[in-house]
Symmetry: C2
Subunit: 222 residues, 2 copies
DNA sequence: GATAGTAGAGAGTGACACTATCTGTTACGG
DNA sequence: CCGTAACAGATAGTGTCACTCTCTACTATC
C-alpha cells in the first residue's frame, strides 16, 4: 500500500507518518522508485502501537522510541525486553531523597513479602514508592501493607493476561502484545477501579435529602 | 509564611508559585502590605494537590484547574463534585465512531451487569471503551467480559479507600482526599499490576538456558 | 541605609508534536 | 503523451504548554 492508504488505515495523517519516518519511529517502506515506496501490515501495526503508547500510555515520542527499540532488538531476551519496556513507562520525576528512600525500602519489603521476581532495579519500584510518598503526604497511608490485598488478584490477572500471548507468534508480535497489553489493560483496570469508586461514593455521599441524579446508564437513557 | 517558605515547603519555585497565583490555580495569600502576603497550610496543601494531579495524574494545568474548581465549589454535592473531578481525569481524544459506539454499548452492559451506580454520562465509560477498542485492534480481546473478574476486588478496595476519608473532616479536605486518592491509589494499583506482570513474564519467558539475571531486589542487593 | 526579599505584570524560553511548503519525480486516467 | 495527482525527502514554521526571566515599585531586616 502507499502512504495515503497507510494514513487511512492507521488514522495518522500523511504528514504525521512522514514525521514518524524521519524520526525513525516507523521503519521505511520498501522503495520501488526514488519517490515511491510500499508499506505493509507491519507499518499499520507499528503506527497503531505508537498511537496506543502515546495516547493511552501518555508516553512522549522519545519514550515511545525507547519502547520500540526494546521491542525490535532481537538480541535481548523476551523477558528482559519486556522489563525494559516497562521501565520506560515509569515517568522520571524529581524525588526528594529524604522521604523517597524510606518509601523505596518499604516497596522492596513489599516485593520480598509477595515473592515478586523483579529485576533488582526495576523502575516499577519507583512508581510505587512515588504513590506511597504522595499518600503519606496527604495523610492517607502509613506503609505498603495497604496494598497487600491487591496482590493476589493482580497475580491471577497478570498470568491470565500473559496467557493470551500465543507461544507460536513471532517474537516481535509477542512483544507488541505484551507491551500494548500492559498499557491498555492498565487503563481498563483503572476504569473498573474508578467505576467502583464512583459507585462507592454514591453509596457513601450520594443519596441525600432528594433522590440522587445518578443511576445505571441504561436505566437513565431514553 | 512568606513565599520563600511556601516554596521550600511545597517544592515549587517562587516563580512557579507566582505563575500559579496568576493563573488562579492557587488562591492569593493574605495581603499585609502592597508587596507582602502571608501564606498558610491551605496553600501548601493546594500546591501539593496541583503537583500530584499534574505529575502523578498527568493532567494539564487547565484540567487541574477544572478539578480544583469542583473541589472548591461548595454548591455542588460531594458525590457530584467527585464525579466531575473524575470526568476531567479522562482524556479527550479522537474516537472513531464506528468501532467506538459498539464498545461503549458493551461498557454500558458491563456497568449494568455489575450494578455500578454511575452518572449516565460518566466519562469513565469512554475510558473503558477506549481500552476495549485498543485491545480489540490488537486482537487480544472480544468484549468487556474479560474484565468481569476485576470487579469484585475493585469494589472491595474502593469501599476501603473511601472509608479512609473521615466523616468529620471539612468538605474541602474530603474532596482533596478523594481526588488525590483516586489518582494516587490508581498509580499504586498499576504498579502492583506491573509487578505481577513482570513476575509472570519471568515465569513464562524468563528462566531460559542459563540462570536468569533476575531476582527479588533484596536478595540481589549487596 | 544598604541589602535582600516581595508583589504584580509582561515578555521571553525551550520542549514537543506536529504542519506547511518546497523540489524533484513518478503514476495514471483520458 | 499530456495533465494532474500523489509521492519521497528535506527544511522551515506553527501552536501549545508550563514555566522562567525581567522589570518596577515597595517593604522588612540587619
Amino acid at each position: 500500500m502507499k502512504v495515503a492508504e497507510l494514513s487511512a488505515t492507521s488514522g495518522a495523517t500523511v504528514a504525521t507518518l512522514k514525521y514518524y519516518l524521519r524520526e525513525g519511529l516507523l521503519h521505511p517502506g520498501h522503495a520501488t522508485a526514488v519517490n515511491q515506496a510500499e508499506y505493509d501490515d507491519t507499518h499499520v501495526r507499528r503506527v497503531r502501537l505508537i498511537r496506543a503508547l502515546q495516547e493511552l500510555g501518555k508516553l512522549g515520542l522519545a519514550d515511545v522510541a525507547l519502547v520500540l527499540a526494546a521491542v525490535d532488538d532481537e538480541s535481548i531476551e523476551l523477558h528482559a525486553a519486556f522489563g525494559l519496556a516497562q521501565d520506560v513507562m515509569v515517568p522520571n520525576r524529581h524525588r526528594d531523597p529524604d522521604t523517597f528512600t524510606a518509601a523505596l525500602a518499604d516497596v522492596d519489603r513489599f516485593v520480598l513479602r509477595h515473592d515478586f521476581h523483579l529485576r533488582p532495579d526495576a523502575a516499577v519500584r519507583l512508581m510505587m514508592a512515588d504513590a506511597i510518598v504522595a499518600l503519606q503526604t496527604f495523610g492517607g497511608l502509613k506503609d505498603s501493607s495497604a496494598f497487600d490485598r491487591m496482590v493476589e488478584s493482580a497475580k491471577t490477572q497478570a498470568a491470565a493476561e500473559l496467557a493470551t500471548v500465543p507461544d507460536s507468534a513471532p517474537r516481535s508480535q509477542q512483544m507488541e502484545l505484551s507491551v500494548v497489553g500492559t498499557v491498555v489493560t492498565e487503563i481498563a483496570a483503572a476504569a473498573v477501579r474508578r467505576m467502583a469508586l464512583e459507585d462507592a461514593s454514591w453509596r457513601r455521599f450520594g443519596p441525600g435529602a432528594r433522590p440522587p441524579a445518578v443511576c445505571a446508564p441504561a436505566a437513565c437513557a431514553p
